[in-house]
């Protein structure tokens, strides 16, 4: 086992070459945190997503991008100009040692360099190649550009997000390419599984538009089945005929709650109304104060409620929540089993008691800063071989020597020439 290579985790037998930019970084992180030897290959000088903020102590420095840190954990890093002849040759040598290559270039770019899937297969017949792109490798839009906002729009999310009297709106920390990276990771894993069975590698084509569509696909079904185009309505959502609130203002922010009807209402409404009664604030629920779960389940169908009824109920709830904090409401919800949750800020998430109790946040050493930094931990708990951050994201070219000299056996002289000519 080469020095520095991790030797634990579910995927410790695999080496993945990560040629992606922000469009695919999360794919490699998922695989690396599961134990794969993921080598991030950056152009000399560093990959462009190092310029994405926020930055450590607000110092805009490619080595201090928190974005880069978060999505390159557990990877090793080298620099390589894959457009130079010598660079291509080095990449070919690396491909021979790898199980999968993940890339997010414009479709056709790698073929143009002689490094497409067919060419890589000649070097390593069972190689897996995962290509991440805005719209996929085929089709009329394949050469088009898309940032997160464009993907959010072409996958229907924008149409249903935002206030109705303002333009459609995105999430202020968009996740389109991140969720695409997660799909890419699962597809890469599926291909690795298949290779274990069949000995065959293959090419995977991942589309961001389709990945985001998977977050919003019922829009298609509402049109297909009912000829309804769902629309944006701020924090309210159509449940059939009436619009229902999903966020209610409270003393220090908002809480997430949906009155709904049927089974959902039967869980939360009886204890909530009891709580309102205790404080003499029943409002529009006066006639429901003796209702148990059964009544809510059987007599209230969200589908059939009128807007007037829903508005009156919600007004009463808004008045009730107005003098209570998110934390007070959440604690009561926990105690009574109500489906009411805080609308969390990033501060709330950082301080979230459940996440703390589950040891979600982890410390990762940053030797170059002389300190440990707190990171978001693993998305799953795996009994046999924990998913974990085994090292912080690589510095620019941090593992050049280790990988080029110690593993590929390049001479010191060659390394010097390649450094001087901008190959590495």
């Amino acid at each position: 086992m080469p020095s520095g290579k991790k030797n634990e985790g579910l995927l410790s037998d695999y080496r993945i070459l990560d040629l992606t930019d922000h469009k695919g970084l999360y794919c490699g992180k998922v695989l690396a945190d599961l134990g794969a030897d993921v080598i991030k290959i950056e152009p000399p000088g560093g990959e462009s997503s190092r310029n994405i903020g926020p930055f450590y102590r607000d110092i805009p420095d490619p080595e201090k991008s928190i974005y880069w840190w978060a999505y390159n954990t557990s990877k090793r890093g080298i620099t390589l100009n894959i457009e130079a002849a010598d660079g291509k040759e080095i990449l070919r040598r690396l491909v021979k040692t790898a199980d999968a290559v993940v890339e997010s270039f414009t479709p056709g770019y790698l073929e143009g360099l002689g490094l497409g899937y067919a060419a890589l297969c000649k070097l390593n017949p069972d190689i897996i190649m995962t290509s991440i792109s805005p719209f996929g490798q085929t089709g009329p839009y394949k050469d088009w550009k898309a940032d997160d906002l464009v993907g959010w729009s072409l996958a229907g999310q924008a149409y249903v997000t935002g206030d109705d009297d303002c333009p459609p709106c995105q999430v202020s920390f968009p996740h389109g390419y991140l969720v695409t990276g997660c799909h890419a990771a699962s597809a890469t894993l599926a291909a690795l599984y298949y290779r274990e069975t069949s000995g065959e590698g293959q090419h995977i084509d991942v589309s961001m538009q389709e990945s985001v569509l998977w977050t919003t696909l019922l829009l298609v079904q509402f049109w297909d089945m009912m000829k309804i185009n769902l629309f944006r309505a701020g924090s309210r959502r159509s449940m059939g005929t009436a619009l229902f609130r999903l966020a209610f203002p409270c003393k220090d922010g908002h809480v997430g709650f949906l009155i709904a009807g049927g089974q959902l209402a039967s869980i939360s409404m009886p204890p909530l109304i009891k709580w309102m009664a205790e404080e003499g604030m029943l409002g529009a629920f006066e006639d429901k104060k003796d209702w148990e779960a059964k009544e809510w389940a059987e007599k209230v169908d969200a589908w059939a409620l009128t807007q007037e009824t829903v508005d009156a109920w919600e007004e009463s709830l808004i008045r009730f929540f107005a003098n209570k904090t998110k934390a007070e409401i959440y604690e009561k919800a926990r105690e009574k089993g109500m489906i009411i949750y805080p609308v969390s800020t990033t501060k709330d998430l950082a301080e979230n008691a459940q996440l703390k109790a589950r040891d979600f946040y982890v410390q990762v050493e940053h030797p170059e800063l002389g300190e440990a930094v707190t990171y978001v931990g693993a998305p799953y708990k795996i009994a046999e071989a924990p998913c974990r951050i085994s090292r912080r994201a690589p510095l620019i070219g941090e593992h050049n020597r280790e990988i080029y000299q110690e593993e590929l056996g390049l001479s010191k002289e060659n390394m010097r020439i390649f450094e001087e000519t901008g190959v590495i």
């Binding site: 906002l149 991942v206 298609v220 009912m226 809480v255 998430l349 459940q354």
Partner: protein, 419 residues
């Protein structure tokens, strides 16, 4: 769009399937679990979806319903998350039903998937610690809103509030307005690909070592992956991320602009580099304002972003969004129509790629399903059958898979174990 008829024909050529032979007992409901197991089914796994009509999946009793008529087998909400699976009904509160579930697991399954609150699988005798005693090579993958452990894990919930707990609601919308709640149960969709990834990793590990294991996911923790930089920004720099409409630190102009046409006709445009800015100006015929010094640098455009957005919209309102998109893209500028449900069904790119597929459901009739968002060059997905009606495959599973006799099945029926 692909019709099942075409797919059936092409199926006659023996396709290789990734998870051929992998058998999954799917006890999940709602979003995350059903979708993750549907993906496994599309990649070749055999999945038995186990549910009960005594406490139906909320998706089964939620819109959209075909032709506005509600019905336990009429919702696409359930259907599109459960295609390509066999479906049986077991009332797991009954010991007889628990015994059937145990037989499915012990005699047939490689994987158990569940999405119940902590304690429920234990109550049914179907928790991992119990199951592993009979079947140590079993993989059990479990998902819950806040995980299966910890002080808040027992709280009921769903993704429509998960999106608020998970921090996304707070950062969606305009700075001077209330937060906007993103569509649907967004956190479910940010979680299920993690469930697929973790399960496949465990299958690889089992193939190599023969060992099974327990995997547990929390929707909150999966969602936090996609907010890691702003959470860390708070921890390191003390900054709380706030709603900023459609603004982006790396692009300007960057927004959604009203276009020509009836109703909600909008196009997103994102300009990130100076080169793209010049191309953008060419597309809009280099109006006088675009040459003003305040707009020639990125910093200047950022500083004057509101005015810039107004100028951009002065141009976009003259053209339908499709034309804005095509002209921008032809010049190398990212742009995209804000598509409605109706637009998505007609989307040329999605149609070219066969993203949407029509399957003929026994009660709903032909309706649209979805392929996973990736394509394998050698092992294409298959949407093998529409979602099961409630209890549709009871007889098949009990008799063909478990080898039960007619008498045994009718005993279960009479006892109410198959409700």
């Amino acid at each position: 769009m692909n019709y099942l008829g075409c797919m059936m024909k092409s199926k006659q050529v023996a396709k290789k399937r990734i998870f051929e032979g992998v058998k999954i007992a799917d006890f999940t409901w709602l979003g995350v679990g059903p979708i993750a197991m549907k993906f496994m089914a599309n990649m070749g796994a055999t999945v038995i979806h186990i549910e009960s009509g005594t406490r139906p999946d909320i998706c089964r009793v939620s819109a959209p319903y075909k032709d506005w008529k509600p019905g336990i087998n009429r919702s696409a909400f359930f259907a599109v998350y459960n295609d390509s699976k066999y479906g049986i009904t077991l009332n797991l509160r009954m010991p007889q039903a628990q015994k059937v579930a145990r037989r499915i697991i012990n005699e047939w399954a490689d994987v158990v998937a569940d999405a119940h609150l902590p304690g429920i699988m234990e109550k049914f005798g179907l928790d991992y610690e119990t199951l592993r005693k009979d079947k140590p090579e079993l993989i059990h993958v479990a998902t819950a809103l806040q995980g299966k452990t910890g002080p808040y894990s027992a709280m009921p919930g769903h993704g429509m509030v998960g999106v608020s707990l998970g921090g996304i609601t707070e950062i969606t919308g305009w700075p001077d307005r209330e937060p906007t709640v993103p569509f649907g149960a967004l956190t479910d969709f940010l979680t299920f690909p993690h469930m697929v990834a973790a399960l496949i990793a465990a299958l690889i590990y089992r193939k190599k070592t023969g060992r099974g294991q327990y995997i547990e996911l929390s929707q909150l923790e999966c969602t936090a992956q996609f907010l890691a930089p702003p959470i860390m920004d708070y921890m390191i720099n003390g900054r709380i991320l706030e709603r900023m409409g459609n603004r982006s630190a790396s692009s300007v102009p960057h927004g959604i602009y009203r276009c020509k046409g009836e109703g909600e006709r909008w196009c997103a445009i994102g300009v990130s580099t100076d080169e793209e800015w010049l191309s953008f100006c060419d597309v809009i015929d280099n109006p006088e304002w675009s040459k003003e010094p305040r707009f020639t640098t990125f910093a200047g455009r950022k500083e004057n972003e509101d005015e810039l957005n107004a100028f951009v919209e002065e141009w976009t309102v003259n053209y339908p969004p499709e034309e804005v998109m095509r002209r921008m893209q032809a010049a190398g500028v990212a742009a995209g129509v804000v598509e409605s449900g109706e637009d998505l069904v007609a989307d040329p790119q999605l149609n070219h790629r066969g993203t949407l597929a029509i399957l003929e459901h026994p009660e709903i009739g032909p309706h649209i399903y979805h392929s996973p968002p990736y394509r394998f060059s050698k092992t294409p997905h298959e949407l093998t059958m529409p979602a099961p009606c409630l209890g549709q495959h009871n007889e098949y599973v009990l008799k063909e898979i478990l080898g039960m006799s007619d008498d045994e099945v009718s005993d279960l029926l009479i006892a109410g174990a198959l409700e």
